[in-house]
C-alpha cells in the first residue's frame, strides 16, 4: 500500500521524462494522471486507518541490505498520515498550477515534481533510518534542478545555497544514525526509540538532529536559505518547498529528536523555545518590511513554523508545571495542525503570487495596487488566504495557533505572551501587503490591464480555499487521527531512558 504511494509517482515521473518534450501536452496529461492516481492511492490510507492505536500501520518490512541490517521498512502512524495526504494533495495542485505556465522543458519539470513526491512520501513513511535518510537526501536533487532550471534571475545562487545548507545539516545526522546503529545493532527507527543512551550521548545526538531539522524547518538563525530559495523558485517549487519540505523538519523532530533523545530534549528545550520565539517575533518584524511578496510569505512561513516547533518542545515545561498530559498533548497536536494548515495556506499564497506574477512578471508590492478592481474573484481568494495566514477564526490557521498558545500558557505566561504577538504581527504584515496589493485605486496601466483568474486557476484556488475552511471549521478528523500517536509519544518522552 505504502509502496504504491511511493513508487506510483516515481514510475510516473520516469515515464513523463521519457515521453520527451516534443509533445508537451502529453507530458502534462501523464503527469496529471499519475499525480491523481497517487492521491487516490493515498486516500485508503486515511479511510482504513485505525484511529484506536498508536502502533505503526500498513507496515511493510523486507530485508534489503542484509549485510548491514538495512531494511525496506515502511509504516505510518498519526503523525505521518496527515503529511502524506498533504503531499499527494499538493502535488496534484502543483501539476495543475504549472499546466500552461511552464513552457520550457515541460516533461523534465513534471517529472521532477512527480519523482520528488515519491521521495517525500517515502520520507514520511520510512521506518528504517537509512531508508529515511535516502529519501530525505534524494528529494533535494529534483528540487535543486527545479529551482536551478525554472527559477528566477538569481536562481543559481539560491539553489546552490539551498542544496549546501540542507546537505550540511543532514550529514551530521547521518553520523548520529550510524552511531546509534553501532549501539542498537539495527537501523529501525522504532528500535532507536527504545535505545538507552547516556545524557552526553543524547545531547550530541540531539544536536546532530537539531542541525539537520532546524535547517529544514527552517529555524532562526539557519533560515537564510529559505527566502532566497522561495523567491527564485518557480511557483510550483515554492509551493512544494513551503507546503511539504519544511514539514519534514518538523516531522523529524517528532519522529527522531523527541523519542530518541527525550532527556536531551528536556534539557535543551530552552534552546528550541528561544529559537522558535525569535522566529515568531523577530522574523515577524522582518516580514513586515519586505518589498517582495514571495519574500514576505517566505518569512511568514518561518514565523509560522516557529509555532510548530514551539508546540513540540514546550511540552516538557507543561508536564513539569503540573497540568499533566492534556496540556502537553494540546501543544503537540497544535504544532501538527499548524504544520498541516500552513501547508495549505502558504501553498495557496504562493499560488496567488504566482497567478499575479504570470500576468505582471513582478513580485514587487510597489508594482501593484487596486488589483481588486480588475481581478475581483482572484482578490476574494487572496484576501481569504491572507486572513487565514493571519489566523482568522474559522480558518485552519487559527486552530493550530490557538492550540499552541493555549498550551503555552500552562508552561509560562511569557512564552505564551510572546507567541501571541504573532496574532498582531501576522495580521500586520499579511494585511498590510493585501492593502497595498489588492485594495486602493488602480496603481498603473499594467494593473488596469489585468485579466481575472481563468478556470484552471479558479479550480486550484477553490480547492485550497475549501481545504482551509474545512480544517478551520472541523479539525476533528485530523486531530482524531493523530491522537493515539501523540498520547503514546508523550508517554514515551516522559521516560528519559538514561
Amino acid at each position: 500500500m505504502l509502496s504504491f504511494a511511493i513508487w506510483t509517482p516515481i514510475v510516473g515521473g520516469i515515464l513523463v521524462l521519457f515521453s520527451g518534450d516534443r509533445e508537451p501536452g502529453g507530458a502534462r496529461k501523464i503527469a496529471l494522471v499519475f499525480s491523481l492516481l497517487t492521491f487516490l492511492v493515498t486516500i485508503p490510507l486515511y479511510t482504513q486507518f485505525d484511529t484506536d492505536t498508536h502502533m505503526m500501520q500498513f507496515v511493510e518490512r523486507h530485508s534489503w541490505v542484509d549485510v548491514f541490517d538495512i531494511e525496506y521498512y515502511l509504516g505510518i502512524d498519526g503523525i505521518s498520515l496527515p503529511l502524506i495526504l498533504l503531499t499527494s494533495f499538493t502535488t496534484v495542485i502543483v501539476v495543475i498550477a504549472g499546466w500552461e505556465i511552464i513552457q520550457y522543458r515541460v516533461s523534465q519539470y513534471m517529472a521532477a515534481f512527480l519523482i520528488m513526491e515519491g521521495f517525500m512520501i517515502g520520507t514520511f513513511s520510512a521506518l528504517d533510518a537509512i531508508l529515511f535518510y535516502i529519501f530525505f537526501e534524494a528529494m533535494l536533487i529534483p528540487m535543486f534542478l527545479v529551482i536551478g532550471i525554472w527559477g528566477g534571475a538569481n536562481r543559481i545562487y539560491a539553489t546552490l545555497k539551498f542544496f549546501l545548507y540542507t546537505f550540511i545539516g543532514s550529514v551530521l545526522m547521518l553520523v548520529a544514525l550510524i552511531y546509534m546503529y553501532t549501539q542498537a545493532g539495527s537501523f529501525a527507527i522504532l528500535d532507536f526509540h527504545f535505545l538507552p543512551l547516556s545524557l552526553t550521548e543524547q545531547v550530541l545526538i540531539f544536536l546532530a538532529f537539531l542541525v539537520a531539522f532546524a535547517v529544514k524547518v527552517p529555524m532562526w538563525p539557519v533560515h537564510t536559505w529559505l527566502p532566497d530559495a522561495h523567491v527564485e523558485a518557480p511557483t510550483g517549487g515554492s509551493v512544494i518547498l513551503a507546503a511539504i519540505m519544511l514539514k519534514i523538519g518538523g516531522y523529524g523532530f517528532l519522529r527522531f529528536s523527541l523519542p530518541i533523545t527525550p532527556a536531551a530534549s528536556a534539557e535543551l528545550d530552552w534552546l528550541i523555545i528561544t529559537m522558535s520565539l525569535v522566529a515568531v517575533v523577530y522574523i515577524g518584524f522582518v516580514a513586515l518590511v519586505q518589498r517582495d511578496m514571495k519574500k514576505l510569505i517566505a518569512y511568514s512561513s518561518i514565523a509560522h513554523m516557529g509555532f510548530a516547533t514551539l508546540g513540540f518542545f514546550v511540552v516538557f515545561r507543561i508536564m513539569n508545571s503540573g497540568y499533566g498530559d492534556s496540556g502537553a498533548g494540546l501543544a503537540l497536536e497544535g504544532g501538527m495542525v499548524q504544520m498541516v494548515s500552513h501547508g495549505f495556506i502558504s501553498g495557496a499564497l504562493f499560488l496567488c503570487v504566482g497567478v499575479m506574477y504570470d500576468r505582471m512578471h513582478s513580485r514587487e508590492i510597489a508594482d501593484y495596487g487596486g488589483v481588486v478592481n480588475t481581478m475581483p474573484v482572484f482578490a476574494a481568494f487572496m484576501v481569504f488566504f491572507a486572513m487565514a495566514n493571519a489566523g482568522l477564526p474559522g480558518t485552519s490557521g487559527f486552530v493550530g495557533e490557538f492550540m499552541v498558545i493555549l498550551a503555552s500558557f500552562k508552561a509560562s505566561f511569557w512564552i505564551a505572551f510572546l507567541a501571541a504577538t504573532t496574532l498582531v504581527l501576522g495580521a500586520a504584515y499579511t494585511l498590510w501587503m493585501i492593502k497595498r496589493v489588492v485594495f486602493g485605486a488602480v496603481a498603473n496601466d499594467n494593473v488596469a490591464a489585468l485579466a481575472d483568474v481563468n478556470k484552471r486557476e479558479f479550480l486550484f484556488l477553490a480547492i485550497l480555499a475549501f481545504a482551509v475552511l474545512l480544517l478551520g471549521l472541523w479539525p476533528d478528523p485530523l486531530v482524531e487521527v493523530m491522537h493515539p500517536t501523540i498520547d503514546n509519544l508523550l508517554d514515551h518522552i516522559a521516560d528519559p531512558k538514561l
Binding site: 541490505v65 549485510v67 535518510y133 536551478g148 539553489t159 546552490l160 549546501l164 547521518l174 553520523v175 553501532t182
Partner: protein, 483 residues
C-alpha cells in the same frame, strides 16, 4: 643427487597466463593489420579481457589457495578485484576508440600496453611476497608511463609522462628501500613469513620496523595519490590523452587498494597501530586538500584528479579502521569509485571530436540542451561521487563511515562528512554548468556515438543506480573477502 624441484601448481595463475599469452598475440597480430582493420585489435583485446574474467571465474577457489612457493595467492579478494579490473578494462577500451581515431593515435600499442598494465594489476592483486608486489607494480607503472606519452606529438603529454616517470620511479625506489629493510630485519620476502617474523621482532626492533614501514606507506601513498604525495596526479590527469586518463583514473585504484591490503594487512598486520596513525594523517590531508583545491579548478580533468585525491582519503579511512569491516568498506568504496569514475571520464571522452579537446568545465556548459542523455549520465556520476543517495556513492561513504564509527573514531567521521560537504560544491557546479548555463558555442552538436559505446556507457551509468538500490551482493562479496 637430483635437485628437488617442486612443480608449482599453475592453475591458480591461469588468468594471468591467459592475459600474457593473449597480450603477446595481440601485439603480433596487430603488426600485420592495416590501419583500417585496427578494430580487430580492439576486438581481440576485449576478448582477452573477457577470457581473463572467464578464467578467473573458472579457477575460483573455495578457500584461499597459495602457489609458486607461497608467493602467489588466489583468494576471494583476488577473484573479486581481478574481475573488477578486467571489467573496467573492457569499458576503457571501448570508450576510448573514437577518441583515439579522432586524435590520430588509433594504434594497437594502446591496447597492448593496456593489457600489460592490466596483467601487472592482476599480479599485484595476487601477490603474496614483496617481490611479486613490486614486479606487478612496475609492470603496471611502466605500461602507464608509455601510455601517457602515447600521443607523441603532444607537448603536454610528453611533459606529463616525464613527470610521471621521474616521480613514479622515485616512489618505487622508496617502496623498494622499505622492502629491503624489512628483508634485512625478517630475512624473508614472503608476506606470510614476514608477518610471523614481524610479530616476533616487534619488541626487539621497533625502530627498524617503524622506519621501514614509513617508506612502505610513503610508496603506497604515492601510488594511491594521497596528500602530500599527490602532486603528480593533477598534472598527469590533465596532460595525458583523455583515453589514458580514463584508464589511470579507474582500474589502477583497485590495484593500489590491493597492494595496500597485501602489504599492510597481510604482511604487516602487527604494525597496524603504527600504520593506522600514518594513514589517519594521510586521510585527513587528502580529504582536506582534495576537496578544497578541487573548487578552484577550471579544467575538468584536473578537478576530477583532486576529486580522486579526496576519494582516496575515504578509502584510507576504511583501511585505517583496521577491522575486516573497514577493509570490506574500503574495497567496496574502491570498486564503486572506479565504476563511477569510468562514467565521468566516459562522458568527457564522448565530448571530444576531431580537432576539439573537451577538457574544461566550460566545455560542458549547456550540455543538457544539446545532449540531455549524456548530461543526465554525467549528473548521475557527479551526484554519486558527491555521495547523494540513492546512488552507489552514498552507500560507499556509509559503509566507510560506519567502519570508522565502529572503532570509536567519531571525530574522524565528522571531519570526513564535513569535507564531503565542501566537495559537494564542485560536483554541483558541474551540474549547474550542464543544466543551468547557456550552451557553449562548440557544444551545439549532438554526440553521435556508435551503438556499443552508447549501450555500455548507459549500462555503466545505470549500474550506479542499481548498485545504489541493491548494494547487498557486491557488499557481501567484499565482506566475504575478509572473513
Amino acid at each position: 643427487m637430483t635437485p628437488d624441484f617442486i612443480h608449482p601448481d599453475l592453475l591458480p595463475a591461469l588468468p594471468e597466463m591467459v592475459m600474457l599469452a593473449m597480450a603477446c598475440l595481440v601485439l603480433v597480430v596487430d603488426l600485420f593489420l592495416p590501419q583500417e582493420k585496427r578494430g580487430f585489435t580492439l576486438l581481440l583485446s576485449v576478448a582477452t579481457l573477457i577470457l581473463a574474467i572467464a578464467a578467473v571465474i573458472a579457477v575460483t577457489p573455495t578457500t584461499s589457495y597459495v602457489t609458486f612457493g607461497g608467493s602467489f595467492v588466489l583468494d576471494q579478494l583476488a577473484v573479486v578485484l581481478k574481475i573488477a579490473v578486467c571489467g573496467i578494462g573492457i569499458l576503457v577500451f571501448v570508450y576510448s576508440r573514437d577518441y583515439l581515431i579522432d586524435h590520430d593515435i588509433y594504434r594497437g600499442e594502446y591496447y597492448v600496453l593496456g593489457l600489460f598494465a592490466t596483467l601487472g594489476m592482476m599480479v599485484m592483486i595476487s601477490a603474496q611476497s614483496f617481490l611479486l608486489v613490486y614486479l606487478g607494480l612496475e609492470l603496471l607503472s611502466l605500461s602507464l608511463y608509455a601510455m601517457v606519452a602515447f600521443n607523441r606529438n603532444s607537448l603536454i603529454a610528453s611533459e606529463s609522462a616525464m613527470k610521471y616517470f621521474v616521480l613514479g620511479a622515485m616512489a618505487s625506489g622508496l617502496l623498494l628501500y622499505g622492502i629491503s629493510i624489512f628483508y634485512g630485519v625478517t630475512g624473508t620476502l614472503d608476506l606470510n613469513e614476514v608477518a610471523d617474523s614481524v610479530a616476533l621482532q616487534l619488541a626487539q626492533n621497533p625502530v627498524a620496523l617503524g622506519f621501514a614501514l614509513t617508506f612502505i606507506v610513503v610508496g603506497l601513498a604515492f601510488k594511491l595519490g594521497a596528500v602530500p604525495f599527490h602532486m603528480w596526479l593533477p598534472d598527469i590527469y590533465q596532460g595525458a590523452p583523455t583515453s589514458v586518463t580514463l584508464f589511470i583514473g579507474t582500474a589502477p585504484k583497485i590495484a593500489g587498494f590491493a597492494m595496500a591490503i597485501r602489504l599492510l594487512v597481510d604482511g604487516l598486520g602487527d604494525l597496524q597501530l603504527d600504520w593506522s596513525l600514518m594513514l589517519t594523517a594521510l586521510a585527513i590531508a587528502s580529504l582536506a586538500i582534495g576537496n578544497v583545491i578541487a573548487i578552484a579548478q577550471t579544467n575538468f580533468k584536473r578537478m576530477l584528479a583532486y576529486s580522486t585525491i579526496s576519494h582516496v582519503g575515504f578509502i584510507l579511512l576504511g583501511l585505517l579502521a583496521g577491522t575486516p569491516g573497514g577493509y570490506a568498506a574500503a574495497m567496496f568504496y574502491t570498486i564503486t569509485y572506479a565504476i563511477t569514475a569510468a562514467v565521468a571520464f566516459g562522458v568527457l571522452i564522448m565530448l571530444n571530436r576531431k580537432g576539439f579537446e573537451a577538457e574544461n568545465i566550460a566545455d560542458l556548459s549547456g550540455l543538457n540542451d544539446s545532449n540531455p542523455w549524456y548530461a543526465a549520465l554525467l549528473a548521475l556520476a557527479m551526484f554519486s561521487m558527491a555521495g547523494a543517495p540513492p546512488l552507489v556513492g552514498f552507500y560507499a561513504k556509509l559503509v566507510v563511515l560506519q567502519a570508522v564509527i565502529r572503532v570509536d573514531m567519531i571525530w574522524l567521521a565528522i571531519v570526513a562528512v564535513l569535507f564531503s560537504v565542501i566537495g559537494l560544491f564542485y560536483y554541483l557546479r558541474i551540474i549547474k554548468v550542464m543544466y543551468f548555463d547557456p550552451p557553449a558555442a562548440e557544444q551545439q552538436t549532438t554526440i553521435k556515438e556508435a551503438l556499443d559505446v552508447r549501450v555500455l556507457l548507459g549500462a555503466n551509468s545505470l549500474s550506479l543506480i542499481a548498485l545504489g538500490m541493491f548494494p547487498s551482493t557486491l557488499m557481501a562479496y567484499c565482506v566475504l573477502a575478509f572473513s
